[in-house]
């Protein structure tokens, strides 16, 4: 039932709004609204009940194992939530004077310093509200860099075919042409193709390392040399930082700019789709262009650096300073873990991935890059199974739901057919992984004995398979009281 179906005309929540319509109202008639908006008229209890019950229909980290590759679904410590929501933090207006926010700003400043250290970059801006916006900022800075040098012929961004969709989308949004380069059999970028692709038009290369194939790009130093020699800059998509935190710093790998998804590696919650926060770090060459605001610490006082302090900055990307509350959560998380904890993230994320990969391989699942270590994630391909039985990666994914596990990422990266990108994250215990292996084994058996059952999964969820073809064909995007 939709919330609107609980609605009754003139029902009201008297506690939640001023008790009368005020007498004073000088809005000119021609600017007034004539018909009330379609907001539900429901009691407080029915609202609470409706949304509490809706929430129960979600899988989530707090309820299920959620090995969604590339998404780093790790535990979101509850203290990060409650401490970031202390009333003083919540009530602070973004334009309140800086001296009324020294506590908050101290957290932001320290977070900048911590992120610089962790990435090996020279400076960090916290403004970006998600990975894709981080990319946009990074590529905009690359553009600003070339423009500042009068180097205006650079119109291309090189992107490996394994890259996340935001990479090419971002490059185009920034006015660049995308040059896609292939991956070799072992999951590395094809170096010959890279060499062929670089040239005077190359503005930069966007790279995810470990790549979205779940392997570490070994020749990254060489790639860096090739791109830099051609006059391009290197962008690091830090969505996969969880795999290498503390082990290797992007700055040391030769990257000029990086975004890191705090809503992955730094454990801020995904919230059913956001908000995130994706601070951007730069090497010296891009320092002047970093977006504002940035927190500075001068003579014992924290303050925002703005246009005046940073005249070459590419400017602002959000009305204020980005997703402050998300940044607070990340700050608290890092302080809980400490320096030691940074290493452990990557170590145990990697251990979990390699263990799960080993166990699934033993069951007979085909690993896409069998000769490689898994990073924090790895890929199973169902190609052979599909060819033999017709059971697809999506079928298996849906069947996993029946067994109480969220599905891995399916059909991404695009270059591996029938793929499942599996990322267990470091916060899962061995027993949970073992239970997942048992479920995968059961499904393998089911595929052998009753493939149609697997193909028509899910069976034990509140709904059977959703018809998304119909969703796109018969567009129904808003509820209509007329029915």
């Amino acid at each position: 039932m939709l919330i609107f179906e609980h609605s009754r005309k003139n029902r009201r929540n008297y506690s939640q709004a001023p008790s009368t319509r005020p007498a004073k109202n000088n809005i000119p008639d021609n600017l007034k609204r004539k018909t009330a908006p379609l907001l539900p008229e429901v009691s407080e209890m029915d609202t609470v009940r409706h949304y509490t019950r809706l929430s129960q229909k979600n899988f989530s980290i707090d309820t299920e194992f959620y090995p969604l590759g590339s998404c780093t679904m790790k535990y979101n410590p509850r203290a990060c939530n409650s401490l970031a929501m202390l009333p003083q933090f919540l009530s602070r207006h973004p334009l309140a004077p800086e001296d009324t926010g020294q506590g908050f700003l101290a957290c932001m400043y320290e977070l900048q310093e911590i992120l610089k250290d962790v990435t090996g970059m020279s400076a960090v801006s916290l403004t970006s509200m998600a990975g894709a916006q981080g990319e946009l900022i990074g590529i905009t800075m690359i553009r600003a860099y070339h423009e500042a040098r009068g180097d205006t012929e650079r119109t291309e961004i090189i992107i490996p075919d394994a890259a996340h969709g935001t990479n090419p989308a971002t490059a185009v949004m920034c006015g660049y042409k995308v040059i896609e380069i292939p991956t070799d059999r072992d999951g590395d970028v094809d170096m010959e193709a890279l060499k062929a692709a670089v040239g005077p038009r190359t503005a930069g290369l966007m790279l995810t390392n470990p790549s979205t194939l779940g392997v570490f790009e070994k020749k990254v130093a060489e790639m860096s040399r090739i791109v830099h020699e051609a006059g391009g800059l290197l962008y690091y998509d830090g969505a996969n930082l969880n795999a290498v935190l503390g082990k290797v710093k992007p700055g040391d790998m030769g990257f000029d700019v990086i975004h890191m998804n705090l809503h992955k590696t730094f454990s801020t919650p995904h919230g059913g789709g956001g908000p995130g926060a994706a601070p951007v770090g730069v090497a010296d060459c891009l320092l002047p262009y970093l977006p504002i605001p940035i927190v500075a610490y001068e003579q014992g006082v924290y303050r925002w650096l703005t246009e005046k302090d940073r005249p070459q900055s590419i400017g602002r990307l959000s009305a204020h300073m980005g997703n402050a509350g998300v940044l607070l959560r990340a700050y608290i998380y890092v302080r809980l873990l400490g320096a030691e904890g940074m290493f452990r993230i990557s170590e145990y994320a990697t251990l979990n991935a390699n263990y799960l990969m080993a166990e699934l391989r033993k069951l007979g699942f085909e690993i896409a890059y069998p000769n490689r270590r898994a990073s924090h994630e790895f890929i199973v391909t169902m190609k052979e199974i599909k060819d033999k039985t017709g059971v697809t990666a999506m079928n298996l994914a849906k069947r996993l739901l029946d067994k109480g596990f969220h599905a891995p990422t399916t059909y991404f990266p695009l270059l591996v057919p029938e793929c499942l990108l599996i990322e267990p994250a470091e916060t899962e215990s061995k027993e949970t992984l073992d239970r997942f292996v048992v479920a995968m084994k059961e499904i393998l058996d089911e595929i052998a004995t009753q493939p149609d059952m697997v193909k028509s999964a899910p069976h034990d969820m509140p709904l059977r398979k959703i018809d998304d073809v119909k969703a796109a064909r018969e567009l129904d995007l808003v509820w209509n009281p007329a029915g």
């Binding site: 009201r12 979600n58 400490g338 490689r372 796109a472």
Partner: protein, 453 residues
């Protein structure tokens, strides 16, 4: 090892299964010369008890103020139920609803949100959120340019939030889209309609129309919308969602209604939080739906015909369309939309009207009382909604400082954004302010003015 459950035994068994001797061995594909791994700026880990004390201390330091600041972010009452439900693990810790069957909670909620938001704006459809109001305006500009096809210029009045304009410039510049600004009439604080004549011969993809504008002033939205449509430009509305309970929605502006409406969703149940996370909303006419950026949820059925919800029109999005997507946006502000949807349900249409009307009435009362003080002058003559500019006869920054020392934040200095508007405060009193609060402000301003005189 906070949050890592592995016992030594677990590790041993897992390594054995992998066939590795140590965890370190799992990193053997990383070239040795790249491994550095020295962290000098990350302090040693704290226990939850310790970080809790640290954060409480920092929060105490920041304290509480009686605030009359608006300027794009507004203090409204947020029902306790909103965040108690929003932070339930099932909403808080789930991902984007890629697996529809395991995400019906979030999906249905978003469909409900789209319905509410489209209706609030008087539009046909809504997406499931963008980052914030400022970036939503930039996306609307890009969308207008895609739709328009021939012009790469956007007309933006200077009465639009200055930072929205700056963010839009930063974002659209990359695509060689030009932002042309229209000055405002210093008497009315509105778009100078007579100045529009100078643009009569030029082609623009869109005209941006703020309502209320950054000064709180109400624009002549019908005339502006029709002017844009008369030139084959799109009309992009930038609106405050609370105000829409009282004000004519963008879909009804002028003869044909605005084409796209965007804005900052924060007033709908989102705490001020030093600036974020908030969420940008975007609604538009049906014919523009395929140009919209961001997630969209559709109602459909399952195999057996039961009602269900799913992400739809994904062919606009980067994860399917990659370089041909309408935007690069992926992660949006889902949890904020969850809160806003619950807020709108709790408050209902009459409640939202009252919040808007009371906020408006409070600011009216504040302005009326302040205007009576010698040395305070209302800057603009036009009607306004819940926010107004007041010029002082003395240095305004000093006055703000002396109010602050008494625990009152008296507004923002418009001079920071409009160098010509000297000693001018933008003030706002939402429904959270009582008559006593307003009285306190008035009295303290009186004293501060007297002291400065």
């Amino acid at each position: 090892m906070p949050f890592i459950p592995h016992t030594e035994e677990d590790v041993a068994e897992m390594l054995a299964s992998i066939g590795a001797k140590s965890i370190d061995e799992l990193f053997d594909e990383i070239p040795a010369e790249l491994k550095t791994g020295k962290l000098t700026q990350v302090p040693v880990g704290l226990s939850e008890m310790e970080i809790s004390r640290l954060m409480h201390g920092r929060a105490q330091k920041d304290g509480f103020y009686l605030s009359f600041i608006g300027a794009g972010a507004y203090e409204h009452h947020i029902p306790a139920a909103v965040w108690q439900i929003t932070t339930r693990g099932e909403f808080y810790s789930s991902y984007t609803p890629y697996q529809a069957e395991a995400s019906q909670g979030t999906l249905q909620l978003l469909y409900e949100y789209q319905t509410m938001m489209a209706s609030l704006n008087g539009m046909d459809v809504s997406n499931a959120s963008l980052y914030d109001g400022a970036s939503a305006l930039a996306e609307a500009a890009l969308m207008a340019v895609r739709q328009h096809r021939t012009s790469r210029r956007i007309l933006i009045p200077q009465t639009v939030h200055p930072i929205y304009r700056s963010v839009t410039r930063t974002i659209v510049r990359n695509q060689n889209i030009e932002v042309v600004e229209i000055p405002f009439d210093p008497a009315t604080g509105q778009v100078a309609i007579d100045k529009l004549d100078q643009f009569a011969q030029e082609e623009f993809a869109a005209l941006v129309i703020p309502q209320p504008n950054f000064f709180g002033v109400l624009e002549q939205v019908d005339a502006l919308t029709d002017w844009a449509h008369g030139k084959q430009s799109l009309a992009i509305a930038v609106v405050n969602p609370t105000s829409l309970a009282m004000l004519k929605p963008p879909g009804e502006w002028g003869q044909r209604g605005a084409d796209i409406a965007v804005g900052e969703g924060q007033p709908l149940g989102i705490p001020l939080s030093s600036g974020g996370p908030y969420f940008g909303f975007m609604a538009c006419k049906q014919e523009l739906v395929r140009q919209m950026p961001g997630r969209i949820i559709g109602r459909t059925t399952d195999l057996e015909g039961k009602e269900g919800f799913a992400l739809t029109l994904q062919a606009r999005e980067q994860h399917i369309r990659r370089s041909k997507a309408t935007s690069n946006i992926c992660t949006n502000q889902g949890l904020m939309v969850t809160a806003a949807t619950i807020y709108m349900s709790l408050i209902g249409p009459e409640g939202l009207y009252r919040v808007a009307a009371q906020s408006h009435a409070n600011t009216l009362a504040l302005v009326e009382q302040l205007e009576k003080l010698p040395g305070v002058k209302k800057v603009f003559g036009s009607p306004f909604f819940h926010e107004a500019a007041l010029q002082l006869s003395v240095p305004a920054d000093k006055v703000l400082n002396s109010l602050k020392a008494q625990g009152v934040l008296g507004g923002v200095l418009l001079e920071n954004y409009y160098p010509d508007l000297k000693n001018t405060l933008l003030v706002c009193a939402t429904e959270t302010k009582t008559a006593e609060d307003i009285g306190k402000y008035v009295e303290m301003l009186r004293l501060a003015l007297a002291a400065s005189a």
